[in-house]
Symmetry: C2
Subunit: 598 residues, 2 copies
Amino acid sequence: MSQEKKQSSKEILRHSTAHILAAAVLEMFPEAKFGIGPATEDGFYYDFDLPRTLIPEDLPLLEEKMRALINNNYPFEKREISASNAEEHFAKAKQPYKIELIKDIIAKNSLHQPTDKTQNLKITLYKTGNFVDLCSGPHLDSSGEINPNAFKLTKISGAYWKGDEKNKQMQRIYGVVFETEKELTKYLKAQEEAKERDHRKLGKELDLFHFSDLVGPGLPLFTPKGTIIIDELQKHIEDICRHYGFQKVKTPHLAKIDLFKISGHVDKFSDELFHVTSKKKHEFVLKPVQCPHQTQIYASQNRSYRDLPIRYMESEKQYRAEKSGEVGGLSRVYAITVEDGHSFCRIDQVKEEVRNMIKIIQDFYGSLGLWDKFRVSLSVRDYAHPEKYIGTKEDWDICENMLQEVSDEMNLNAQKREGEAALYGPKLDFMFRDAFGKEIQIPTVQVDFATPKRFNLIYINEKGKKENPVMVHRAILGSYERFLAMLIEQFAGAFPLWLAPIQVSILPVSEKFNDYAEKIRQEIFAADVRVEINNRGETLGKRISEAEKQKIPYMIVVGEKEMKENSVNIRQREKKEQQTMPLNEFIKKIKKEIKEKK
Amino acid sequence: MSQEKKQSSKEILRHSTAHILAAAVLEMFPEAKFGIGPATEDGFYYDFDLPRTLIPEDLPLLEEKMRALINNNYPFEKREISASNAEEHFAKAKQPYKIELIKDIIAKNSLHQPTDKTQNLKITLYKTGNFVDLCSGPHLDSSGEINPNAFKLTKISGAYWKGDEKNKQMQRIYGVVFETEKELTKYLKAQEEAKERDHRKLGKELDLFHFSDLVGPGLPLFTPKGTIIIDELQKHIEDICRHYGFQKVKTPHLAKIDLFKISGHVDKFSDELFHVTSKKKHEFVLKPVQCPHQTQIYASQNRSYRDLPIRYMESEKQYRAEKSGEVGGLSRVYAITVEDGHSFCRIDQVKEEVRNMIKIIQDFYGSLGLWDKFRVSLSVRDYAHPEKYIGTKEDWDICENMLQEVSDEMNLNAQKREGEAALYGPKLDFMFRDAFGKEIQIPTVQVDFATPKRFNLIYINEKGKKENPVMVHRAILGSYERFLAMLIEQFAGAFPLWLAPIQVSILPVSEKFNDYAEKIRQEIFAADVRVEINNRGETLGKRISEAEKQKIPYMIVVGEKEMKENSVNIRQREKKEQQTMPLNEFIKKIKKEIKEKK
């Protein structure tokens, strides 16, 4: 509870600072029309309709004005007046957006209240200095409670009034505010670091992927280096899953729309579907998900209870028509390569399947050093409204219990979330913390009774009768695009050895040692280690710094001494000390480290 | 030359037998209207407009009638008459199709001849028994020259008059004819065998791929077993190519149409392009080839002469809108997974690039035992018409010479084919013979000056000037779909060990040995060998025969003796003798064989 109170006091601070910003804007632009100004996760924003476009240089000026308003220690004065008086006030102040908001409040209230009561509707106003805002509060007592050195205006952007493209575009100013200056400094430093780690910036510097104007936005092209990381991730996850009985399949990106009508995706994703046509009257859609295609492989043979579970996995692209304004970097793309897997099993096998899928999640995230920073939620049905779900109460009871038992057995401490289950069954969701402490939710295990029924998937049970299998969905790394973006930021581009696009860079001291460099390159390459020679004219110092910038795990410098001894001089990334050792010893060492995914 | 004469005499035999078929049809259906009846590769066909639909039982009856006509030894009587007399003759015989053909002949002649000569136009008729045909010959002297035991009617199908869908559909009878009965028997046996090896039949029996009505035709779904073969092929070809400096990239399936306008594919493949749209007004096309996407990765960085050659490879699906009537099996599909590679290089590097690509082809086809059965053609420009090509005479001279030199150095004996070069440069094409002796053309190495210019690809040369690289295209296995179809037929489903979806099947003698079976399964699996246990209730004999049908390379039978000794009893595919050996020895043996791709 105290946690919640604290959150709330932070929100009061943020929202109050938004008022101060608005008051400062009013001083700078007496004609300003005001939209809304809520608190956000780290601060606040406010939307304005202004006589001219803001420029970045405006922000420090506004900050100065805000500081003055804070120093004047204006109280936040609350006033309750009738709706009609409020309208009158804002009409006089020439604030059309506020009037629209009051009208919305009246309309909303008249829906819930008898008409006579609407006339008694009270509207709350807050006044700070000369600025009066329509606002329900609560606020700080006075502007002096804001630390004048603990806030900052961070960004100007456009925003449609009420978020609707058809409305007028306003100007939004973002800001952050904390209780202490120290917190602000910490936040700004983290932001700076995040910018340095931004996957779009590092992706370019490390030459991992590229967007081409001719190909189009949202359609990443993976360069040789980016491809290596994706392939290594895929090999790794497939190796793990194969140990748990998953078999890889390959399905095309097209299908008749019928497939997705049956699965329900046409209803759900109609706007996100890409339609495919040709001059020869073909009509297909691009798959927005993998599951329906995989059901058709299950359905391609007669299945008996002895054949189950049958587990398929696939790493293929799927396509979703995101809003063109929303695609950017690898986080939001049209072409998403999804690692997706399903187990088709009997109901008595669900628990074991779920357990295995969790072990896969553990193995995979464990190998990336992320398994210690996770939490799990168990999403179950809304018990008050069983009619919202597909399937019998018995099936639901069994499966929810199974998930609870698995959580207990595996010490997952899954937090139960009532009403959060999928339409077709309960699920376990895993949340991890990324490099900035932000929570990312990727892995999930979902029990699905509905899809096998929709596709009329069948197996013959022990009694020779037809029965629908249960489908258990699992996502481990989700999409390679988003996962790569996350990994780039997680490691700031300094990938673990096994993922590094180039694992070893050989730097001959001078041209004289090119032949020796080539000789050891061949030996290292033959050992399946990714190796390059950098002998491109520049000084050794420059080439060392280039390898450091490229975050290559091992540098090998070779000169007279090394050539004579058939040895190598090694510098490991982020380590000061150098080491000289025989070549074959180095190869043994690095191979071991790659295998162990250190 | 004598080879050519022989071909021609075979054609005379085939075409003459078509006349005998028509004469037999006339006896059976006096109302029959006749279309055309040409010779084909192994025999002939004839198109008829008949009062009823033919049934398979008609064929032996017609063969009997043909035999009688042969035994009567009717001469093929040639008669030359005027066009108008010929029209009169076929009008009386109620043969509208023949009259149409005569009209076509007249029309064609009047185009090339002065009007007065057209009236003297002679039409050739051939009479055999009661059957008179419009035909320019030549023919055998008499029907008795046909061996009555060396022909067979093979198939009935529909065919539009003159191949035009708008015309009437006729009935076509296919037949084959040889000089000797032995040749016929050999042909029919080969056909039978081909049917047994047909990739659609074996693909189903071996559970390699599947077509779903809900997904659509031309869109194969690869099951776990089919996926293993494709993945193994991909790993193999990528391993080989990586040794020659190729780097894998990944590109999406969509692009703006602009990309293919620049590449020239919109002009060339307009009808085969799939167009992609959404409710959000996106407009893309599905890529019909990989090259343009790869140019955009090249173009994503500044390149210097020192960086070249840059070699990309990719195994991705591309999509072509084939006619829906033409898709079938894996040979013709909408979704084609193409293994495609390109080298971007300087002109002085072309020869070395070509040499390496040929070595890749040699390594790959050698590993499949196909390298000894190939021939090569060198397609050069039409020297009389240099204006048909892009690029300077000097560039062409250099590149043609390079290809010729490489052919000489590598003893390829490439046959020069004038005028067969691509628009953009000369090429080397490799032809192999498949299981039935049929020639298949897959690998190719093509030199391309045009594409880098169209996309304005640049590198900075030694003098600091901008220059276009040369692009060398290479295909090794072409598309995985067609290659898999070819491999299935080549090996009749009995894939080499390294490609076999299941390499070892463990058959416990009885349930008592299930635990031991599971123990050795785990050990074999841990050694990265694909292994299954078959303990599904049935008798050992039945399970052995099942494994044989599935063409599994190794069967391991385990019982009392093996369990005590920690040994395995091995049966190798297509070998009679069994062998018992310690488990670890077997693992060592099979791992060695897999690695050596035996």
